[in-house]
Each structure stands twice: as C-alpha cells, then as structure tokens.
C-alpha cells in the first residue's frame, strides 16, 4: 500500500518512485510545486474514493503527512 501511494506520487510528479520516501517534500523535490500538489490530492481522492477536508490538506508538508491523513480516512498505507 505504501507502494501504491509512492506510485501515485511518482506518476503525478513524474519522477522515479525510488526518489520518493516519507521525508520527500517540496524542499527536496523540485517537481513538487503548488499546482501539482492539488493534482495529487485530486488523484488520491479519486483513487481511494475519499474527500479530504480543506484544513487537512493545508497540514500536509511531506509524504509522511499523506500517510497520516489517508490513515485518518481509513486507508491503511
């Protein structure tokens, strides 16, 4: 499941999934910009059939935070 998340992130940001880890953030991945972050959110919502709250999305600073928020929505990654 971890892999699935990494896969989606790697697809949206168009980078090798090997470059993705829990600490990946806009600071260390230049492909992560403010727009494709929203694209990523949209893909995750569609993929897992969930809806994030606006304030949840504002808390996400790195890949690990995605895991947290998905867990909150019952998606175990």
């Amino acid at each position: 499941m971890n892999e699935k998340l990494y896969q989606i992130i790697s697809k949206v940001f168009n980078v090798e999934s090997s470059k993705i880890n829990d600490e990946t953030s806009p600071e260390n991945l230049e492909e992560w910009d403010s727009f494709n972050f929203y694209v990523l959110l949209d893909e995750l919502e569609n993929e897992f059939n969930i809806k994030f709250d606006l304030d949840e999305t504002l808390e996400i600073k790195k890949v690990e935070d995605f895991k947290e928020i998905l867990k909150k929505h019952g998606i175990d990654v």
């Binding site: 697809k11 949206v12 168009n14 403010s34 727009f35 494709n36 929203y38 694209v39 990523l40 949209d42 893909e43 569609n46 994030f52 606006l54 999305t57």
Partner: protein, 584 residues
C-alpha cells in the same frame, strides 16, 4: 486518443513532446482572470494528438488586463494565432455577485454597460494589435441567486445582469470575423457546476474549473483550434445494419429491422436526425455497407421511419467488397482526402481492419449500446468550422449534383464530348466581403490541387485584398447540373516586370474539367493587358498535391531554377468549352 485521461497524464505528456514537425502549426495564448495552470500543457498534448504543432503562452495570474493593454507585452511578443480570453463571472461582477441588491435598477444598467465596454475594449485591442483570433469564453450564469425563486420575476436580477452582459458582448463582436464566443454555459450545462466547480480548489488556489474537468474544458477550446487550423472532417461514412438501423436487413427483413416504434428503433431514429442536421449544415454523408444493394436501398427509399434518404448520401457503396476498398473509392469519388473521413461501423473487426489499413481516417469506437450513438456523434467535435459559409450550406446539394454529373459522364462516354455538354461557366471575382472567408477556408483546407499550400487566415486574405500590389481573386463555377459555388482561388504578387503566383488552388471535386486552365489563362491575359511579360509560379510538393504536379508544365511553363515561368507573348492554352465571365 487518451481523451479520458486525467490532468496528470497531460501534464506529464506535455513534457515528452519533442519539437513537432507537423505541417499544421498554431500559437495559442490563454489569458485568464483565475488560475489557469494545466490548461496550456493539456492543449499542447491534445494538439499533438491531432498532428498540430502547438506553442502556447499563458498570462500570469490575473494579469490579462495589463498584457492586453500594453502593446509591448510578452503576450503580443508571442504573436498568437489564437487567444482565449477566459474571464470568471465572480471576477467580473465583484461584490455584485453576492449582493445585487446594493444597486438600483439604473445602477445595474450602468454596471452592465461598463462591463460590456471594458470587455469589448479588451477584445478589440487584441484584434487591433495582433493578427490573432480571439475566443471569448462568455460569463457563467450563476446557478444561485439570493433572490431564490423570485429571481425569474425580478426586472433585473442577478442572472439577468450576466445574461445581458453576454448578449451585449455577442452583439458587439457580431461582425468581427476574428472573434468567436465559447459557450461556457453549455460546458456547465453538460457536466454540471456540482462537478466542474470544486470549492476546495477554489479556496485553495482560485481554480474555477476543477482539476478533474480541465481536460474536458480544453476539449471545448480544441473545437476552435481544429476549426482554425482547418482540421475539420468533411464526410461521415456509415455502415447500415446496426449502425443506421437496428438488426440486419438481410436476415431480419424490411419489416423486422428496428427503426422507430420501440426503444432500440427510437435510438436509431435519433441518431439519423442528428446526422441529418450535420448533413444540412454541409457535412457529406456516405454509405459503406456489406449488403445486397436492392435490400438495403429499399429501406433507404421506402422505410416509413427512415430519416436519411438517398439524396442525403453523396456516395453509396452497398456491395460485398471489403470496407477499405469502399472507403478508398468513396474518397476518390468525392475527391476528398481519406483524412477528411469519419467512419461509423458497429462491427469492431471492420473498425480494426480499417484503422489498420487507413491510418489517417477517424474510426469511431462505437459502444455495443445503440442508445449512446447520438451522444457519441454529438461529442466528436470534429465538424467545427470557425465560420459557416454559403458553400458549406450548399455542399450537400453540390455533391448530389456531382452524382448526376458522374452519371451523365457515363452516359456521354467520350470525356471531351462530356465536357462540351456540361455548359461550364466560371465567374472570376475580386475578393470582397462576401468571399474573403471562403477564400481563406479554401487555402486552409485545400490539399490536392494546391500549388503552394500556403495557409492564410481570414484577416490575412483581407489584408492582401487591400494591397495594390496583389491580386486576390476567386472562381465561382456553375454547370448544367448546378452551382458549385466558390471553388477556386489565386493570389498573385505584382512586381514591376513580373508577376509571381503566390497561391493557386482548386477544390478537388472540380479538378480535370479545364477550370484550372481557364483560371490560369485569366491571370496571363490580365498580365498581358498590363504589359507584364513574365509570370512565375512555384510548385511546392507535399504528400497530397500530386494532382497539381504537372499543371504548369502541361500549360506551357518552363522550369527556371525554382520557378515555373511563362512568357505572356506565348499562345495561351485556353479551354474552349468554358465560358469565363469577369466580374471586376
């Protein structure tokens, strides 16, 4: 075609596009009042899929005003061919969007007037400072009014304000050939604000179209891109059994096929009605069906619920030949390229065979459910024209006449005899307001008999027509079977001692009747009168213009370096069977 791919697909594909070497090229600018990230990547990819080389320019967030009003802006520097101006209704209305009450009736009218002036001023500024087409996406009518159900009884409610702005802009730009309007409300109606507008994305990044629906919105933009680049399809080729009616005529018989009267039959009737509508607008229809001719044609002629009749089809191939041969024949018979055809067939094997053999044809992937056919046809979006000319509306008739001509030809037997009996008459006319858009359309769409294949937009033709050093003329062709409309054109550049033929073209369906020779004779006679001795022209070969390859040579031109040259003292090989009327 990747039509259903989501935005991240387009964002990534956009990075993979190498410099395109396609013949069709387009420069697209997108100016928006909200966030328009992702639009340009998607449009580049969609153009690439259509074999159009596309460069794009994006205005900075909400900088459209400055970009348009400053003549030295990056926008003008980009030299767009098409500019999309996408303004959001909230942005245009400001606080009025929420509290229309704060204005009196008079103030509301003043407000509408000002907004219309502002926006049309922007549009006209672009036209004056560039050669770009401008596509204005009209304002979304709000789906909610604080007046509630009373909105409809208000003298001048919130929705009425927006409707008025839209209507008035439409009137203001009516006569601007370079300006078109994208019906944004149709887009909303189709997919629903519930889906298109995402509050979270709106509050997060002022996105007015949700990420999920950006590719669908770009499809709306692509209609204009297709039309302006001349990528429009001309002819729909249709299978019969389970495509135009339910069931198989050879098995079920005349009385048992499904057409009207039951759910399946109603879906085919609806499909035919939509085809008829396109046909009446100038899209040619043809039949390509494996059937006994007599069985099938009886349905077309006599079935009480048939909507399309024999006269709607410009070419009918009902036989046991393979579908590809039939398509080739249809293309030849109608004198239009394979890439101008759209093929509808319910049989997947036929479809794959055709795709495989004729890569340029558009083969529509029909679902097994016939109730979806009308929707599929409506959503193809490949029949768009930036301007529907009289010729488009007449085309259907012209092709029916063509059929009669062919039959007459077979009757007469000898070709020269046939030509003499055709009573061909050509009217040569200077380009004017009535013909400019048609001449541009001809340069954009003519591939086969086109000596230089230079593509000119309407504003360019207009410019040429006002240039004293250029001749821009067109030929209107008639014969005993009817009017072909404007089907030929040329552009000549007049230098002091020689004239250079910049463009010379003829609609393919009238090639080979001597019309091209009459037109060229006309140019030479004109030069002679003005004591010009030398006429020069180039033949620029493309994949498609072989029919024109030997034209200059056959007429008596000789090759000197890059040019074919003719001395006007020589005898002119003018066809005798054609009457030429000058209309200067």
């Amino acid at each position: 075609m990747g039509k259903n791919e989501n935005l991240s697909y387009f964002l990534n594909e956009a990075k993979n596009i190498k410099t395109d070497n396609f013949e069709k090229k387009i420069r697209i600018a997108i100016l928006g009042s909200s966030t328009i990230n992702g639009y340009e990547e998607t449009i580049r990819v969609k153009c690439h899929q259509k074999k159009i080389a596309c460069r794009t320019y994006n205005s900075n967030y909400n900088q459209y005003n400055q970009e348009i009003l400053k003549k030295d802006s990056k926008f003008y520097e980009f030299k767009p061919d098409i500019t999309f101006l996408i303004l959001d209704v909230r942005h245009v209305l400001g606080e009025i969007f929420f509290t229309p009450y704060s204005l009196s009736e008079l103030e509301k009218k003043e407000f509408v007037k000002n907004k219309v002036r502002e926006i049309t001023n922007l549009i006209k500024t672009i036209i004056n400072h560039s050669k770009s087409h401008v596509i204005f996406s009209d304002l979304q009518i709000p789906t909610y009014s604080p007046y509630g159900i009373n909105e409809q009884k208000q003298e001048f409610g919130l929705k009425q304000i927006v409707k008025n702005i839209n209507e008035k802009i439409k009137l203001e730009i009516k006569n601007e050939d370079l300006v078109s309007i994208l019906d944004f409300n149709e887009f909303i109606q189709k997919y629903g604000e519930e889906n298109i507008f995402n509050y979270k994305q709106y509050f997060s990044g002022d996105m007015k179209i949700s990420i999920e629906f950006i590719p669908k919105f770009i499809d709306e933009l692509m209609k204009f891109v297709n039309a302006i680049t001349g990528s429009t399809k001309k002819c729909i080729v249709l299978d019969l059994d389970n495509t135009l009616w339910g069931g198989v005529i050879g098995e079920d018989g005349f009385d048992k096929i499904k057409l009207g009267d039951d759910p399946i039959g109603r879906s085919f009737v609806e499909f035919q009605k939509r085809l008829l509508a396109l046909n009446q607008r100038g899209i040619i229809l043809a039949i390509n069906s494996k059937n006994n001719f007599d069985d099938a044609i009886k349905v077309i002629n006599e079935h009480p619920n048939m909507i399309l009749r024999r006269e709607n089809f410009s070419s009918i191939k009902i036989n046991w030949n393979d579908k590809v041969s039939n398509l080739r024949e249809i293309s030849k018979e109608l004198n239009i390229g394979i890439d101008s055809l759209v093929f509808f067939d319910d049989d997947q094997i036929n479809r794959e065979f055709v795709k495989n053999q004729l890569s340029d044809i558009l083969v529509v992937d029909l679902p097994t459910d016939s109730s979806i056919y009308p929707k599929i046809l409506t959503e193809l979006n490949v029949f768009e024209l930036i301007k529907i000319t009289d010729e488009d509306l007449k085309r259907r008739d012209m092709y029916s006449q063509q059929q009669e001509r062919n039959e007459f030809k077979n009757e007469v037997g000898d070709f020269n005899e046939f030509l003499k009996k055709m009573d061909i008459e050509i009217k040569i006319k200077k380009a004017d307001n009535f013909s400019i858009s048609r001449i541009s359309q001809l340069t954009l769409k003519t591939n086969q008999f086109n000596l230089t294949t230079k593509r000119y937009k309407e504003n360019e033709i207009e410019l040429f027509s006002k240039d004293e050093n250029k001749i821009v003329e067109c030929a209107e062709v008639k014969d005993k079977f009817g009017d072909n409309g404007i089907t030929g054109a040329y552009i000549v550049e007049k230098k002091e001692n020689e004239w250079i033929i910049d463009t010379f073209l003829l609609s393919c369906r009238i090639i080979g009747r001597g019309i091209e020779d009459s037109m060229l004779s006309e140019i030479i006679e004109k030069a002679r009168k003005q004591n010009v001795k030398i006429i020069k022209g180039k033949f620029i070969p493309t994949q498609k213009n072989k029919p024109a390859k030997n034209f200059y040579e056959n007429f008596g031109f000789s090759l000197e370096e890059d040019f074919w040259v003719f001395n006007t003292d020589n005898t002119i090989n003018k066809p005798e069977h054609i009457k030429v009327i000058k209309n200067e």
